[in-house]
């Protein structure tokens, strides 16, 4: 579903992503981990078409993101770490706008909006302007809007930051269900337990390169360590290089 082929991204002299190659299958929940500045957000933005690779090729659901970005975007949903909302729109107006953008028409549209409003517990505030929403309310709205057009690929950057336990649980559950329904999830996170519990495969990224990749057991084998992902993560990344240099 997602094919990243030898992709490099440079910011001036700095190499943010270095000859990255990855294949993510349909319905796969893929989590990417790594210290700040490892290149996770840059990779997600390239997948979303918001950054152009300096070299390499990205294909989403058979569509080359560089060649036909509109078609690729129609198949994807992107949830940034700090999502953008229109302050002067109500939650409901925002969802309708997203439905218009993604051309979600027909009789089922309003029903789907209502279903998502219920699912994310937004009935109380969905008619208020989003400028009055808390961080958690905004995040719920964005996620609900993301699912409106039934994307084949969901790209999520740090979705759990600042969420209360109820919302965090709901978000994890929704992503799990989406993956089971055939949607590929590409998620960056610092919450190692989420990656461990939910992801089918995990990638560990440092200084623009994948230094660890596979299922939990593959990573354990690579680290030669039986234990939690946290221990495995530190074992794999230790001694590679100082992540903050």
């Amino acid at each position: 579903m997602i094919s990243i082929q030898n992709v490099t991204k440079n910011y001036g002299r700095k190499v943010a992503v270095d000859a990255l190659s990855l294949e993510i299958g349909a319905g796969e929940f893929f989590a990417i981990l790594g210290p700040n500045g490892a290149g996770k957000t840059t990779t997600i933005k390239m997948l979303a078409g918001l950054l152009r690779p300096t070299a390499g090729k990205i294909v989403v659901a058979g569509v080359d993101v560089q060649v036909d970005p509109i078609a690729a975007k129609r198949l994807c949903a992107y949830v940034p770490d700090q999502p953008f909302l229109y302050d002067k729109l109500s939650g409901l107006e925002f969802m309708n706008f997203i439905a218009d953008l993604y051309q979600v028409d027909g009789a089922g549209r309003q029903k789907e909006i209502e279903r998502l409003v219920d699912l994310f517990g937004m009935k109380e505030f969905v008619r208020e302007l989003t400028e009055a929403y808390s961080h958690g309310m905004k995040q719920r709205l964005v996620l609900a809007a993301t699912l409106l057009h039934k994307p084949k690929v969901i790209l999520v950057d740090e979705p759990l930051v600042g969420l209360d336990p109820h919302t965090a649980r709901l978000v994890k559950q929704v992503f799990r269900e989406q993956a089971q329904g055939g949607t590929s999830i590409f998620m960056s996170t610092h919450v190692l337990s989420v990656a461990e519990d939910f992801a089918d495969r995990i990638g560990i990224m440092m200084q623009g390169k994948i230094v660890g990749l596979g299922r939990m057991e593959d990573l354990r084998r690579q680290a030669q360590l039986e234990g939690k992902l946290e221990d495995v993560f530190f074992k794999i990344t230790e001694g590679v290089v100082n992540p903050y240099e």
Partner: protein, 561 residues
């Protein structure tokens, strides 16, 4: 629904909600905004009308209509150049820096549709003032020349149609510069600002060939006409606008419609061209702008810290720290300092060229008049500067307010820091400019000193107003200074600043005009009037500074984070 339809629908819903939110505000706020807007429009009308009447009286020997016509060509030419650059700068931040553009580009909307949507938005931002400035000018012209009624709606149609030309050019410049020119943010802005200043200098240098010695004699007028011939080139869009409006005033409807058609055709062409360019350049420009990164490394303490320590050695250490932080933030944001440079750079260029018209050799009537106008221009620019840059300073602390709010120092120092910064910066710039004006005009020392004192008071009052009101009406939710400024507090600050500036200028103008222009005062009487004038300026300035500062200090103490 098409993507353009979805975006248009979005704007409509947003506008409707904004209007509803505005209507929900207190009647007082709405009344203040309405009264200010109307008064401002009427003042502009009066200014244009008095200016034209003055010219009519002074230029008796000359063809007055022809003179006004020539001024139209120059005025609209200069406005076109400024609007084009304003559109390019606003367009750059709108197309390539806004979070909304990123959000829309991540959705399956065509880049051309995003462009069109943002183009209309930037057009509104950059060109509303053109209409606001243009309509009272047209009204004043219409009243003096007794034009037919069709002139009024017709001239508005001309202005409204014309706005799209600089907007289209500006949009194309923003896209081309972003994609093809230097790939650092600083380089980009320096490039745009440099190009703007270069263009203005070229235009000004054309005027410098004038070597007349008498500002109103026929010879000088002819020379000015000759040297500004470039603005009457029929290939220029500003020529079509000026000519079309003048033809409309002279009841030559057919000719006028030809020029309106010419503008409409060129608008269609330019917008279509920019729209088609955007399909290739908007996304590329976005990619480029997102990849821009300053390569510069900053030490823990640098030149700014040392400069502030020396300049403000007499104030508290905490205050100095806040001033240094604000200065660094300002100078590292090219969008901020480039606007500042354009604000005051234009004034400096104008003052440096004062001798072109040989005012320094003329009698005191003209020297006083021009010096007063220069003081007015400098003060109004300062008022705009304080409203645009100083007023939002506290609000811009925004979510970061806890950093200084929680620091082990009295919160009042935050305001004193901002006051010290504002006062020092405005004083340094304005006194330099007014000294330049006095030297170029060779004004008498009394006049130069009085203007220096008036500006000292104005800087103090404007700083107190902007900092104080900024603390009384903080808006921590907004990151965009333009939006902070457009709120109630920002509007009130602008209104109060203008009233204050006019009060101070009035206090200093009375003795100057009585003595230098009308010769109505003896030397002794003049000296006493000057003392009274300076006392008045000091009183008004202290009131304007201390009163809002006291309220601001109370407000910041009570502020709950």
């Amino acid at each position: 629904m098409s993507d353009v339809g979805a975006l248009a629908g979005l704007k409509w819903v947003e506008l409707r909600n904004r209007a509803a939110a505005f209507a929900d505000q207190s009647r007082f706020k709405i009344a203040v905004v309405a009264v200010f807007s109307i008064s401002f429009w009427i003042s502009l009308f009066e200014l244009f009308y008095s200016g034209m009447t003055f010219l009519q009286k002074t230029a008796l020997q000359y063809n007055f209509a022809g003179l006004i016509g020539a001024m139209f060509y120059i005025f609209f030419f200069a406005l076109t150049v400024m609007l084009t650059f304003s559109n390019a700068i606003i367009g750059y931040s709108s197309y390539f820096k806004s979070k909304e553009t990123g959000f829309l580009l991540a959705s399956p909307v065509r880049a051309e549709s995003v462009f069109l949507y943002k183009f209309v938005e930037s057009l509104g931002f950059s060109s509303w003032a053109f209409l606001f400035l243009g309509t009272p000018l047209m009204a004043a012209y219409g009243r003096i020349f007794e034009v037919p009624w069709t002139f009024y709606p017709g001239s508005v149609a001309f202005l409204a149609a014309f706005m799209f030309i600089p907007a289209g050019l500006g949009a194309m410049i923003a896209m081309i510069v972003t994609v093809y020119l230097p790939r650092t943010r600083r380089g980009l802005v320096i490039g745009v600002v440099f190009a703007a200043i270069l263009a203005i200098l070229i235009a000004v240098s054309r005027l410098m060939v004038v070597k007349g010695t008498n500002a109103v004699d026929l010879k000088l007028v002819s020379e000015v006409f000759e040297s500004t011939r470039f603005s009457r080139n029929p290939l220029l869009p500003s020529y079509w606008l000026s000519k079309g409006i003048l033809e409309l005033a002279e009841r030559r409807l057919g000719n006028s419609m030809f020029f309106l058609g010419l503008i409409a055709a060129n608008v269609s062409f330019l917008v279509a061209l920019a729209h088609s360019m955007s399909s290739g350049l908007l996304l590329r420009g976005w990619h480029v702008s997102q990849g821009l990164r300053s390569q510069r490394r900053y030490a823990g303490r640098g030149g700014v810290d040392r400069f502030v320590s020396v300049l403000l050695f007499y104030v508290d250490r905490h205050v100095r720290l806040i001033v240094a932080k604000d200065l660094k933030s300002f100078f590292r944001d090219p969008v901020q300092w480039s606007q500042f440079l354009i604000f005051f750079g234009l004034l400096a260029i104008y003052f440096l060229n004062l001798r072109t018209f040989a005012y320094e050799d003329r009698d005191i009537f003209w020297k006083n008049l021009i010096a007063q106008m220069n003081l007015l221009a400098t003060s109004l620019t300062l008022a705009t500067f304080a409203s645009r840059f100083i007023y939002p300073q506290l609000s811009l602390e925004g979510k970061r307010f806890w950093v200084i709010g929680m620091a082990p120092m009295e919160r009042e120092k935050i305001l004193f820091g901002k006051l010290a910064l504002s006062f020092m910066c405005t004083l340094l710039i304005s006194e330099t400019l007014i000294t330049l004006s006095s030297v170029m005009l060779k004004t008498p020392a009394t006049l130069a000193i009085l203007h220096g004192v008036a500006l000292f008071g104005i800087c103090l009052g404007l700083s107190g107003l902007a900092v104080g009101l900024g603390a009384i009406y903080p808006n921590f939710a907004e990151d965009n200074p333009s939006k902070i400024v457009s709120g109630f507090g920002g509007t009130l600050n602008l209104v109060m600043s203008l009233i204050f500036v006019l009060a101070v200028l009035g206090a200093q103008a009375v003795p100057c005009f009585q003595y230098f222009t009308y010769r109505a005062l003896s030397g002794d009487q003049f000296r006493w009037t000057i003392v009274a004038s300076m006392t008045g300026i000091a009183a008004i300035s202290l009131l304007a500074c201390l009163d809002p500062m006291a309220m601001g200090l109370r407000s910041i103490k009570r502020l709950e984070l």
